[in-house]
Assembly symmetry: C2
Homo-oligomer: 347 residues x 2
C-alpha cells in the first residue's frame, strides 16, 4: 500500500460537480494517503476550490478543459463530439498510462461508451457490465449488470458470472463466493432462454465457481448468494425498486414516529439506534458502481451524490487497482475460452 498511485477524475461530472469532487478528495485524504489525483475540468472553477484547501491541492493536478458531457447527451453523440470533454480526457489518462483508474459521476451511458471505446474490453469479454454492492441481511452482495446492457444473451450472463465471482473472491475477499442467476423462480424449467442456457453452461463450467442456480427477487436482500447475475434491464429495475422501497419504508417509519406523543418520545430515545439503521441503508455507502470487463479500472459514482458518496467511489477505485482485479479476471477467462463454443453448440 506504500507505492503511490494516480487516479484521474472527471471533475465536471455529477450534479454537484466540481465542488463535491474536490470535497470528496478532501474526505479521502486520510484513508488514501498514497493517492494522487488528476482533475480534468475547468481550471477557472477548480483552481479557487483547491486554493481553499491546500492539503487537497498538494495531491491534485488540474488538467484544463472547458468541454463537458451533459447528462442528457446520447452516448453515441458524446463519443463523437466529446473528444475534449473532461470525461474523455480523464479516460484517456488511463489508456496513456498516466493514471491507474478513472472515476466519474457523469452521464453513465456516455462514460460506458467512451470507456469501452478507449480502454477496450478484456480478452474474452464481449460486453462490460455495471456492478455494485447491495446491502443484505447477511452483509452485502455484488450484483451485475445494473444497466450497461439492456438485452443480454446467455454468453453475456456467463461472462458476468465469471467476472463477478473473481471480483467477490479478490476484492471482497470471500473464499468461495456463491453465484446465482436472477429469475422468476428457482426451478430449472422457469424463465426465458438466456437464463436457462446460462444456467446450463454454469452448471458444467470448467472453473471452480460455486454456482447456486437460480434465485428470485427476494433472495437479493436475503443475501442468498454473494454474486447476483442478471441482464442490465432487470438489474437496473431491481436496484431502483429496492432503493425506492427503502425510501418508502423510511417515510412510513417517520410517519409512524410522528403519529402520537408517546411514539415521538419513543423515537427520540431510539434515535441513536435509528441513525445506525439509516447509515446501514445509506445509499452513499454503496456508491461507486464498477464497470467490470474493461481493460482498465473505471468507477461510476452516482450523479446526484455528495462529497461523502464520491469519496466512497474513490475508495472503490483504489481497491480495484490494489487488488489487481483485471489481472485475475484475465487469468480466469484464459482458462475459459471454451465458453462461447459450449454455449452455441450446447442447448
Amino acid at each position: 500500500m506504500s507505492t503511490r498511485l494516480t487516479l484521474s477524475l472527471d471533475a465536471m461530472g455529477g450534479d454537484n460537480a466540481p465542488g463535491m469532487v474536490v470535497d470528496g478528495v478532501g474526505l479521502s485524504l486520510e484513508r488514501l494517503p498514497h493517492v494522487d489525483f488528476l482533475l480534468f475540468g475547468d481550471e477557472k472553477q477548480l483552481a479557487p476550490l483547491l486554493d481553499k484547501n491546500p492539503r487537497v491541492r498538494d495531491v491534485c493536478q488540474i488538467r484544463h478543459t472547458e468541454d463537458i458531457v451533459t447528462n442528457d447527451e446520447k452516448p453515441g453523440v458524446a463519443l463523437r463530439s466529446g473528444r475534449n470533454s473532461s470525461m474523455r480526457l480523464a479516460i484517456n489518462a488511463v489508456s496513456d498510462g498516466e493514471a491507474a483508474g478513472i472515476v466519474s459521476a457523469g452521464n453513465t451511458g456516455a462514460l460506458m461508451a467512451m470507456a469501452k471505446f478507449v480502454l477496450k474490453t478484456l480478452p474474452g469479454i464481449d460486453r462490460p457490465a455495471i456492478a455494485s454492492y447491495f446491502p443484505t441481511i447477511r452483509g452485502e452482495s455484488l450484483m451485475l449488470d445494473l444497466g450497461a446492457n439492456v438485452v443480454c444473451d446467455a454468453e453475456n450472463l456467463v461472462q458476468f458470472a465469471v467476472m463477478g465471482e473473481v471480483f467477490a473472491r479478490n476484492v471482497l475477499g470471500l473464499e468461495q463466493p456463491s453465484v446465482g442467476i436472477l429469475n422468476v423462480g428457482s426451478e430449472e424449467l422457469k424463465g426465458h432462454d438466456s437464463v436457462k442456457h446460462a444456467f446450463n453452461t454454469l452448471q458444467n463450467i470448467d472453473l471452480p465457481i460455486k454456482f447456486h442456480g437460480f434465485i428470485e427477487g427476494d433472495d437479493i436482500a436475503k443475501g442468498t448468494v454473494d454474486v447476483i447475475v442478471t441482464d442490465g434491464f432487470t438489474g437496473n429495475i431491481a436496484l431502483k425498486t429496492a432503493e425506492g422501497t427503502a425510501k418508502m419504508f423510511g417515510v412510513f417509519l417517520k410517519d409512524a414516529f410522528l403519529s402520537s406523543t408517546t411514539s415521538k418520545i419513543g423515537g427520540l430515545l431510539a434515535k441513536p439506534a435509528l441513525n445506525k439503521l439509516r447509515m446501514r441503508m445509506d445509499p452513499r455507502r454503496y456508491n461507486g458502481a464498477m464497470f467490470l470487463g474493461l481493460n482498465g479500472i473505471c468507477v461510476k459514482s452516482h450523479g446526484g451524490t455528495d462529497a461523502l458518496g464520491f469519496a466512497n467511489a474513490l475508495d472503490v477505485a483504489v481497491e480495484l487497482i490494489t487488488d489487481g482485479l483485471n489481472d485475475v479476471i484475465k487469468e480466469d477467462l484464459a482458462h475459459l475460452d471454451s465458453v462461447p463454443q459450449e454455449e452455441s453448440s450446447g442447448s
Copy 2:
C-alpha cells in the same frame, strides 16, 4: 350488493390448505354476507372443518374430489392430467355458470394455464396478465404483468396498459388513472424494442388513457403512476425485490431497537405506531393477484398465505365481479381493434 353471488374455491390449493381456506371464508363472513362458496376438494378433510364452524358451513357446499395439483407440477402436465383436480373443477364451475369467479392459492402456472384453457381470453387480448396492488407513498398502485408472461412484445404491453387502466378506473375508482411503462430510464430513447414500441403506440392510442410515459424502478414506491405496465419477468422480480427489501428493513429495524436499553424503551413506547407501520406494509393486505384478460374472474392468492390473506383474496374476487370489470375491458377493447395493426405497420 344485495344480490347473492357464488365463488368457487380451490379448497386444496396453498401451503396451509384446506384449513386456511375454510378459516378465510370464516373471516369474510361479515364483510361478504351475500356470498356463497363452492369448496372443491377432499370431503374427508373438508367436512370436519366445516362441522367445527356451522356459520361457515351454512354458506359452503363441498364438491368432492381427491385429485390435486401439486406446487411443483409443470403447467402443461397439470393441464393434461389434472382434469379432476380441485383447481380444474373450481375453474369449470365458472365456465359452467355455477360460480361468478374462482379463487385459488395453488400453483400459479397451472392455474393460469387451466384458466386460460377453460375460460379463454377476452376478445382482443392475446395473453392474460397477473396484476396486483403495490403499496406506495401516495397510496397504492396496480402493477402488471407479475409473472404470467416471461417474454412480452409491444402488443402485449399495450393490452396490459388498457386492462390496467380500466381496472384502476372501475375497481380502484380513480377518475383518470395514469399509466406508465417500467423501463431503465425515463427518456424516450432508453430501453429495448418492446417498451419503445409500446410507448409509441400508447402515445397515439385512440382511447382517453392518461399515458405518463416511462417510469423507473424507484417510481413504483413513489406512486408516480397509478398503473405500472411491465413484462412478467421484470414485474415478478421487481415485486419480489420490493418484498425482500421491506423484510430486510424490518430485520434491521428490529436490530436497531434491540441494540441498547434506551432504544429498547424507545421501541416499547413507539410500539403501537410501529404496529401500524407493519400493517401498512403487511403483504397479506396486498394478497390476491388478479388474472386480467380472462373471460371470467380468477384470483390467485399467495401460496403461503394464512386465513387473513385468503380472506383478502376473496374480497378482491367479489370486488371484480361486482364492478363488472370484464364488461368494461371488453367495451374498451372493442374501440381498440386497430392496435395490433398499428403496431405491426407502425415502428
